[in-house]
Symmetry: C2
Subunit: 215 residues, 2 copies
């Protein structure tokens, strides 16, 4: 087994491959060519081959890929074969929407606990998920053995809450606040900054013509 | 002026630089060293220098960067000096949260119209933003000269709505659906796939030890 760490860009494409293979299997398709795969997921075939090469020989030249076995492989590496429970901290409007948001079908993800500092939110069930007071974070995460947290608190509280999460043994944070969190090595932070995404999009639109040339 | 298209990774960091410079200016700081900048935005200084090099000489060796003039520069390229109106299509739970979501302060972004197919949502004001029936998309976008849309419809309708948006002259789509949209060249799509982000995070946590080594 390769010991090389796969690039983050490759890791981000694995769920995309996984989802498409699930669709193919549900459609009772037995194999898929690299061209079909490339068109469906909108990733060029050289990149797909390079991504797959990190995991050894997954397809056969001239045959393409066997849908069921490739899906089984991705299911394994994405840990889709067992339930993954995550928590959410910060039940504001974005947090509430995420509680209500159904992760895509065919995933094994489940938000199983939420936390908020507001007393009126705590100790209630929201979208089927129990909301605990923020003071219970450490206790609940330990008890429920949750090590992945979706962070939807306001920016000014993000670092302070992140420190608590680290102390509670959390290993992964999906950070929706605009703050760049400082965490010890070994804790992964994935930033989703909605304003940033929109600004990047605007940058491309305003600075490049419809044909892709620089204005 | 360089005609080279800057890499997407660089473009995504521009709003991060911009936001930090705004904080510095508000704190009445006049200059910033590349080391301070690097630590604050958590981007290594070689990457910062490479990013900045796309725009010519922005700092002075041994002096660092002048906060006010660097901020002015980024304000210009990010079009932060004029209001940018965007629309949102799909007022479900995620869409509603985004309507209620305040884009970071110091940005000039504004959602100024929303659309939904549900008759009970249309022709009302939600979080201060008018919600129009989906049949008015083309008319309203033209009238309000909006060419950027946040797409929060269910996956099964995403492509069909994207086709309507393209027809209405939209040039940028921030796509929250898991569907890979097919659009003509010249229309930019930025995908935000929440399930995908979470799965990538889980992949890293489950496959690598706390010290970053492969399990």
């Amino acid at each position: 087994m390769a010991t090389k760490k796969i690039p983050r860009a490759t890791a981000r494409r694995l769920p995309i491959y996984y989802r498409y293979l699930t669709i193919l299997l549900n459609a009772k398709k037995e194999r898929v060519s690299s061209t079909e795969l490339s068109e469906a997921v909108q990733v060029d075939s050289a990149t797909i081959r390079r991504d797959f090469s990190y995991f050894g020989e997954l397809g056969k030249r001239g045959y393409g890929y066997d849908v069921a076995s490739l899906l089984k492989f991705f299911k394994g590496i994405l840990h889709q074969d067992s339930l993954v429970s995550v928590a959410l901290v910060g039940v504001g409007s974005l947090g509430s929407a995420l509680l209500n948001f159904n992760f895509h079908q065919d995933t094994n993800l489940r938000i199983s606990a939420a936390f908020d500092t507001k007393p009126e939110l705590a100790n209630k069930i929201k979208s089927g998920i129990p909301v605990y007071p923020a003071s219970d974070i450490k206790k609940q995460l330990k008890e429920q053995q949750i090590d992945i947290v979706i962070l939807t608190v306001p920016g000014e509280h993000a670092q302070e809450v992140a420190d608590q999460l680290v102390e509670a043994g959390v290993r992964g944070i999906l950070n929706f606040s605009p703050v760049r969190l400082s965490v010890p090595k070994g804790v992964q932070v994935q930033n989703i900054d909605l304003t940033n995404e929109l600004q990047t999009l605007i940058y491309f639109i305003k600075n490049y013509g419809p044909d892709g040339s620089k204005k």
